[in-house]
C-alpha cells in the first residue's frame, strides 16, 4: 500500500526523490480521511517553500485540508490536471495525483521523515484511536 521508496510526514504527505527532484502528494490515508476530493489549490512554479510550510489546500465535500511541504525547496511544476479531475486524488493518491515537484534545497531534511514501515505504524495507531 505505502511504497517503500517514499518518505512520509505526520501530516500525511509523501515525497519521492529522483535525481534531486522531489515529487510530493498526499497519502492514501489522507484521501480516505478527507473523502471525495472536489477542489485543489496549488502554488505557482517558482514558489520557494521551507520544510513544514503550507503550500496549498485539498478540499473534499465536507472539509478543507492544508498541505505542508515535507522538505525545503523550489516548486518546479504543479499537477495542473487536478484542476479538472480532483477526484484523481481519491483514485491514485500515490501516483497520478501527485501535487508538486520540488527542487530539493537540503537533502538532509529527508532524514527527519518516516519510512513506509514507520508511517504504517503511525497510522495504525491513529486507526486504533478512532475505533475506541
Amino acid at each position: 500500500m505505502y511504497p517503500s521508496n517514499y518518505r512520509y510526514t505526520k501530516e500525511h504527505e509523501w515525497i519521492r526523490i529522483e535525481n534531486g527532484i522531489g515529487t510530493v502528494g498526499i497519502t492514501d490515508y489522507a484521501q480516505h480521511e478527507l473523502g471525495d476530493v472536489v477542489f485543489v489549490e496549488l502554488p505557482k512554479a517558482g514558489a520557494k517553500l521551507s520544510a513544514g510550510q503550507s503550500f496549498g489546500t485539498v478540499e473534499s465535500v465536507k472539509a478543507v485540508s492544508e498541505i505542508y511541504s515535507p522538505v525545503s525547496g523550489e516548486v518546479l511544476e504543479t499537477n495542473t490536471s487536478l484542476a479538472n479531475e480532483p477526484e484523481k486524488i481519491n483514485k491514485d493518491p500515490h501516483g497520478a495525483a501527485w501535487l508538486i515537484k520540488l527542487k530539493i534545497a537540503n537533502a538532509a531534511e529527508l532524514n527527519t521523515l518516516m519510512d513506509a514501515a514507520a508511517y504504517q505504524t503511525y497510522i495504525s495507531e491513529k486507526q486504533k484511536e478512532a475505533a475506541h
Partner: protein, 369 residues
C-alpha cells in the same frame, strides 16, 4: 457542533452495524454516527436518483399525553398545531421566551390527547426540560428517545423498496402524513417525511429490531440502487433542498423572520412563548435575513466564512458546501436586508480572498414532480 469533553459518547442501536460495514464514524452532537459509507457524492446522488437509507436514531422523540396536550404544544411552538388532523405532521419551532429557536421539530398528532415530537439529537434533553418547565397543563412529557430507532428511506425509489415490507398502502400516506403499521413484522410509526428534498419515509420502531430492519431493507433495495448513507450526505441533501439545520441557520439567537421561516409562525393562533417579541419584529422588520447564494468564483464557501461588503464583515455563512447533485458551490448566509435580493452580488471571505457569490432563490434543488 461542540460537545463537552467529559460527556459520554452516545450510540444508536446500529452503531456496531455501521462499524462492521466499514462506515467512517464521527462525533456529531455527542453521538458516534456514520458520516459516510461509500462517499458523500455517491450517497447523495443515489438518494436523488434511486434511494438512500439513513440511521437517524440520534434524533430525539418527546411524547406528550393528556387532555391538554394540545395546549402545551401551542404554548411552546410557533406553528398552529390546532390545524393538524390526526395522522398529520407539521414542521415547527420550539420557542424560547425571547422568540428565538430552542429547537426546530416535527409535531405529529397521534390523537387529540397524544402528540409525538421529533427533535434534534443534541437538543433532546434540554428540549424535554424546556417543555416540562412550561407545562402548566398537567401533561405527561416523556423523553422517549431511547425507545425508538428512526430510519429514513429517501429518494424516488423509496416507496417501491419499502412497500413489499408492509401491508399499509404507502401511496395512501400523503406528504407530511403518517400512520401506524407493521414494517417487516415490526410495529412502526410510518411517516412520509424527510430531510433530503426527496420523496420518502421516516419509520420509528423499537431498537431491538434495528439490525434486521437495516439489513433487510438494504438487501431488498440493492437492485434499485439503494445505498446506506451517512450524515455527510444528509447534510448536503438538506442544504440543496434549502432546509435549515439547528446550530447553523437557526439557534437561540435567531428568529423565524430572520431565518425566512415566517410560514411556520402563526401569530394569530393565540399566545405562545416569544409571541410579543415576534409580533414586534414582524412589524419592525428584521435587520438581517437568511439567503441562499451560489459561488461565482471556484472557491468553496464553508460554515462560518464572513460575508464582506466594502471590505467589512456584514454577515456570515451558516452552511457552505459543494452541492453534489447540482455540481455548484452553494451556501446559506445571514446578510443585511439591503443585500438580500435575488441577483445581488456579495463577497465571501475565504482564506483571505474576497470570493464572488450571487444571491439565488432557495431551495437550490426542487425534485421533479
Amino acid at each position: 457542533m461542540t460537545t463537552p469533553a467529559t460527556a459520554e459518547v452516545r450510540k444508536t442501536a446500529l452503531n456496531l452495524t455501521h462499524r462492521r460495514m466499514g462506515a467512517k464514524m464521527v462525533n456529531f452532537g455527542g453521538w458516534d454516527m456514520p458520516v459516510e459509507y461509500s462517499g458523500i457524492i455517491s450517497e447523495h446522488v443515489a438518494t436523488r436518483t434511486a434511494a438512500g437509507l439513513f440511521d437517524v436514531s440520534h434524533m430525539g422523540e418527546i411524547e406528550l399525553r393528556g387532555p391538554q396536550a394540545l395546549d402545551l404544544v401551542q404554548k411552546v411552538t410557533c406553528n398552529n398545531a390546532a390545524k393538524l388532523a390526526i395522522g398529520q405532521a407539521q414542521y415547527s419551532g420550539l420557542m424560547t421566551p425571547q422568540g428565538t429557536f430552542e429547537d426546530d421539530l416535527l409535531v405529529h398528532k397521534v390523537s387529540d390527547t397524544h402528540y409525538f415530537l421529533c427533535v434534534n439529537a443534541a437538543n433532546q434533553d434540554k428540549d424535554w426540560e424546556h417543555i416540562r418547565r412550561h407545562n402548566t397543563f398537567g401533561v405527561e412529557v416523556e423523553n422517549a428517545g431511547v425507545r425508538y430507532t428512526q430510519l429514513a428511506i429517501q429518494g424516488p425509489k423509496a416507496l417501491g423498496i419499502l412497500q413489499p415490507f408492509t401491508t399499509v398502502p404507502l401511496e395512501s400516506i400523503k406528504y407530511y402524513r403518517f400512520t401506524f403499521g407493521k414494517v417487516n413484522g415490526v410495529d412502526c410509526l410510518i411517516a412520509r417525511t424527510g430531510y433530503t428534498g426527496e420523496d420518502g419515509f421516516e419509520i420509528y420502531f423499537a431498537p431491538e429490531h434495528s439490525e434486521k430492519m437495516w439489513y433487510d431493507l438494504l438487501e431488498a433495495g440493492q437492485p434499485d440502487g439503494l445505498l446506506p448513507c451517512g450524515l455527510g450526505a444528509r447534510n448536503t441533501l438538506r442544504l440543496e433542498a434549502g432546509m435549515c439545520l439547528y446550530g447553523n441557520e437557526i439557534d437561540d439567537t435567531t428568529t423565524v423572520w430572520e431565518a425566512n421561516l415566517g410560514w411556520i409562525c402563526k401569530l394569530d393562533k393565540g399566545d405562545f412563548l416569544g409571541h410579543e417579541v415576534l409580533l414586534r419584529q414582524k412589524e419592525r422588520g428584521s435587520d438581517r435575513i437568511l439567503v441562499g447564494f451560489e459561488m461565482q468564483d471556484r472557491l468553496i464557501a464553508r460554515d462560518g466564512c464572513p460575508i464582506l461588503a466594502g471590505g467589512k464583515q456584514v454577515g456570515h455563512v451558516t452552511s457552505g458546501s459543494p452541492a453534489p447533485f447540482l455540481k455548484r458551490n452553494i451556501g446559506m448566509a445571514y446578510v443585511p436586508r439591503a443585500l438580500s435580493a435575488v441577483g445581488t452580488e456579495i463577497q465571501v471571505g475565504i482564506r483571505g480572498n474576497q470570493a464572488a457569490a450571487r444571491v439565488v432563490p432557495t431551495p437550490f434543488y426542487k425534485r421533479p414532480k
